[in-house]
Symmetry: C2
Subunit: 234 residues, 2 copies
């Protein structure tokens, strides 16, 4: 049926990428499964090993495949975390107005996630959130504050019960992204305000009040968003 008479569109590497994606989409390749060797795959698709390697490399950076040196090539679990790792690249390379747009998206998703978390969070998860909140308030090292800040929001996103959303928020809070924005933000003595906002979020979670949680999270991200907007304006 599907013989290998090349349809002659695009580069051979691009075609190879599509073929492998199709194989996974059709279920012929399951998550975690091991693929044939680069050499065999090249023969099967009728292309050179070089071109096949480029296709594999492309699918690797997309989080679809995983190459283990000396062992073989495997399909990832195709979970949100695997596939959305590249989302961080977007955040890292965005500048100016695009950063504001990303923060607007984060505000929307983070407020919803926090609201969901207020309704679903378990005592254990809440304890974890409190741990990071306390650690954040107990130090003055910006590096450590940032780390606990990230963990604080990550824990909340996880409690919302949507792994895909958590993965996107993770990308929107990636280390370099936050570092770039917060460097300037925190210099204006925003520490106190940040602590108040985090406390408000925690209060809403502890009270299991979704609407209060949504408002607190939206205000928290919105503060940074407005600050950044002002930085770009005049």
């Amino acid at each position: 049926m599907d013989d290998e008479t090349a349809p002659q569109k695009g580069t051979v590497t691009q075609r190879a990428i599509e073929r492998i994606k199709a194989m996974i989409g059709e279920g012929r390749l399951e998550p975690g499964q091991r693929l044939p060797t680069e050499r065999d795959l090249a023969v099967q698709l009728g292309i050179s090993r070089s071109s096949m390697r480029e296709a594999i490399r492309a699918l690797t950076v997309l989080g679809v495949l995983e190459a283990r040196h000396g062992s073989g090539i495997y399909v990832t679990q195709l979970e949100a975390g695997d596939l959305l790792e590249t989302f961080g690249v977007v955040a890292d390379l965005s500048r100016g107005p695009q950063l504001v747009e990303l923060l607007e998206i984060r505000r929307i998703l983070e407020s919803t996630a926090t609201a969901l978390a207020a309704a679903r969070i378990t005592p254990d998860q809440l304890a974890e959130v409190e741990k990071h909140l306390a650690a954040m308030n107990a130090t003055d090292d910006p590096e450590e504050i940032l780390a606990h800040d990230l963990a604080f929001h990550r824990e909340i996103a996880a409690a919302a019960g949507n792994e895909t959303m958590a993965a996107i928020l993770e990308g929107l809070s990636s280390r370099t992204f936050r570092a770039r924005v917060w460097r300037g933000y925190q210099e204006e003595g925003a520490f106190a305000r940040t602590r108040r906002e985090h406390a408000a979020i925690h209060r809403a979670l502890a009270a299991r009040d979704p609407e209060a949680a949504r408002a607190a999270a939206a205000a928290h991200v919105g503060e940074v968003e407005q600050w950044l907007r002002a930085q770009l304006g005049p």
Copy 2:
């Protein structure tokens, strides 16, 4: 200053990818700018052309670079559309519970985008929306309906004024993603319901009522979401 003494971590290709990303992040490579040739780049980074090509291919699929056969390699405009093209891959390869999570995210973003659009849409944009709405109701060809359905939502997302959000929604409505879900959904005589929902969205936009628009959009996506959730359950 920064000599090329290899830090010896990861594969040389991975290192090359990071170096180029860093160059763009630091502003040493501007959007639209032409890069040196593959051969020159390979020499500069002290690696073979093969490895350099893999790095370039990886950055190409990420939407960061663009290779023009016979001309050269260029940095893309680094706009939302360029970088978020890969988001469609996520939607295409997701299955089962993950599809529901993606629809939940789409519901959140689409409802917000529609609300924003209700406040910001121009008469011209509204006319465009109406055109697709009418075309959608004037045919029975599922293929054509789907196309106008996509355009309908795309126009609204554009009117919301956040290009990044529009690009994400575009990925969440990618052709294969919609086709897979809607195939089953529409078979259950959901056409009439869909038309009513689209009409409600349009009514809210024309009335410039953000809250009504938010509710209508959330209900629209929510219907599909609930249907899909039911499909997976028992």
